[in-house]
């Protein structure tokens, strides 16, 4: 009966769709990252910035940049920016420091995750050096001043007067499998 082969053809096609959509669910992970990189959705900042050309410093403009530091749940470290807010000229290289202290009696590893508000300012915030590019390992009760060097792009839209750069500190000790001592 031809109906049988017709049916098995339909079944094969449908199973193909099922497998494909299962894969698509996972494909959304890299797709989402690419989309965020391209558009700066979610206020995600790009990685290490290397200048293609020297930018003109816009002496006529001042942008306020605010720094926030917060701990993810159960993260016991002390973590704060040493300067809470500053006014910078777009195009100029600035340096600030964040302070972190492991208040526990164990060696721990932390990862800082940045976020920029407003989102569309994310692509205009270039970081030439950032503690968020690496994981930070601190011995028990050790503290550290962590540098951040950044340039606000001189092309940043006039409408942006204030940029907030927020870091959340995550405990990744277990994930990287650090032996407890």
């Amino acid at each position: 009966m031809s109906g049988k082969t017709e049916a098995s053809k339909t079944i094969r096609q449908l199973i193909f769709v099922v497998v494909g959509m299962f894969g698509f669910g996972f494909a959304m992970v890299p797709l989402y990252d690419v989309l965020c990189d391209v558009t700066g959705f979610n206020g995600k900042t790009a990685g290490k910035y290397t200048a293609k050309e020297v930018q003109d410093v816009r002496e006529d403009r001042l942008v306020t940049i605010q720094f926030l530091a917060s701990n993810n749940a159960n993260m016991p470290w002390e973590f704060r920016p040493k300067v809470r807010t500053m006014k910078v000229h777009p195009g100029k290289l600035n340096t600030v420091e964040f302070y972190a202290r492991n208040i526990t009696g164990e060696t721990m590893v932390a990862q800082a995750v940045p976020s920029v508000t407003p989102f569309h300012a994310a692509e205009f915030l270039h970081k030439t050096e950032c503690f968020c590019f690496e994981q930070q390992q601190l011995e028990a009760r050790e503290d550290l001043d962590m540098p951040l060097r950044f340039i606000i792009d001189s092309q940043i839209p006039e409408a942006v007067k204030t940029v907030t750069l927020s870091y959340t500190l995550y405990d990744v000790t277990e994930q990287i499998g650090l032996a407890t001592n």
Binding site: A7, I11, L14, M21, F22, F24, F26, F41, Y170
Partner: protein, 533 residues
Amino acid sequence: MSAVIEEHHHDGHHHGPDKGIMRWVFTTNHKDIGTLYLWFSFLMFLTGGVLALGIRTELFQPGLQIIQPEIFNQLTTMHGLIMVFGAVMPAFVGLANWLIPMMIGAPDMALPRMNNYSFWILPFAFGMLLSTFFMEGGAPNYGWTFYAPLSTDYAPPSVTFFIFAVHMMGISSIMGSINVVVTILNMRAPGMTLMKMPLFVWTWFITAYLLIAVMPVLAGVVTMMLMDIHFGTAFFNAGGGGDPVLFQHVFWFFGHPEVYIMILPAFGVVSAIIPTFARKRLFGYDSMVYATASIAFLSFIVWAHHMFTVGIPLAGELYFMYATMLIAVPTGVKVFNWVATMWQGAMTFETPMLFAIAFVILFTIGGLSGLMLAIVPADFQYHDTYFVVAHFHYVLVPGSVFSIMAAVYYWIPKWTGNMYDETLGKTHFWLSFIGVNVTFFPQHFIGLAGMPRRIPDYALQFADWNMVSSCGAFLFGFSQLLFLFIVIKCIRGGKKATDQVWEGAHGLEWTIPSPAPYHTFTTPPTSMKEAHG
């Protein structure tokens, strides 16, 4: 098992069901499996209902009375999961099993053995899900939407059982949907072209495609959770380079089509019932089919309207707002067609028709509040309030659930051969109708006033409407025991139903005897005159 039946097995032509419990365990008969699905769904409906009454008991008054917050969170989560995956979806699969072969003139579903597996996975999936109530740390407590990292880093240990239960439900749904599609594509009687199929078959055909497309995505997202929890990945953990907002994107990519999965078959049911009792052909059959397909397509490109407040760019918010509002167009076409079908019809108001008309009115109210929620600036005010609760309960309870009840009253004479008790049926309808509105309409008010959802306690100014809502919930809940009584009474006896059952009923299922014999259309019907009303 008697020797006679044994012998029937050997020659492969047994004419009736096996005897005893094994009939139900091993059955491959679409009518048996439909019945199993419907009973299972009703059991889950009562289970989820008991959880809902627990919620409404706690919310009867402000303050913490009976249920502590940890338990309350488990109740809301499990109520949602059970009603969505255990009550509404299996009920529609049950209707599909019973009706699709009879409506298209097929002897059975295309893949009967797989049909049996699809059903029997479910009791195990829900057994496992319900067993989490007795585990250390309790049942899932992160909402039916199980946003990560709440459902990963901060979840009770039972989350793993939840994940596997979702996997099992997904496998069941996917197998059931493949079965529906293969049946519809390959087993239609000669002359039953696609555009002659009853709308219930059409809506299920489209629903099955939606299920096949999105249940694997749900399986994917819970698998990512599983890997985050147990295998050290960081899909949703920002500390490891993942992103919690990604979870919401993947979840709602499944979740939005899912809400149409729960309503499209309801459209099909109502499109069968209204023409019967208006004694007119369905107005605008073709436009109904195209509207259903449009809604299904749009459901894939509007998911982020559930996420307006997570922080998506303005352009994204505008796109998702307008795309969402666009859904009102095909939905409006449907409502218009139902009203136009009733227009100048010779209407009578038997119980199925009452439920169907209530569906049209109350579903439209739910759709309208959906449009309000689609407006981005307004949604920032409504988000996560009781207004949202009111909205989705209006489309799911007097929407999907009423359509399922309408379907049961409409087709039960065909299933059992007996008419149900019309007086009791109408009583059940009015109790349910009043109960539903008393429960959910006040939730619009307290939501607009700012009461957040998923909380066991609330500020004093919400007290009065919460008390009204709880009273309505108990009225609605206990009315369903009357429904159970009516169904059992109808199975056990009653006025004999004719083959056509309803004076205005058209369609192949009304050409076979009542009750429908165990095997129907073993030879395909020849005349398509009776195809869709």
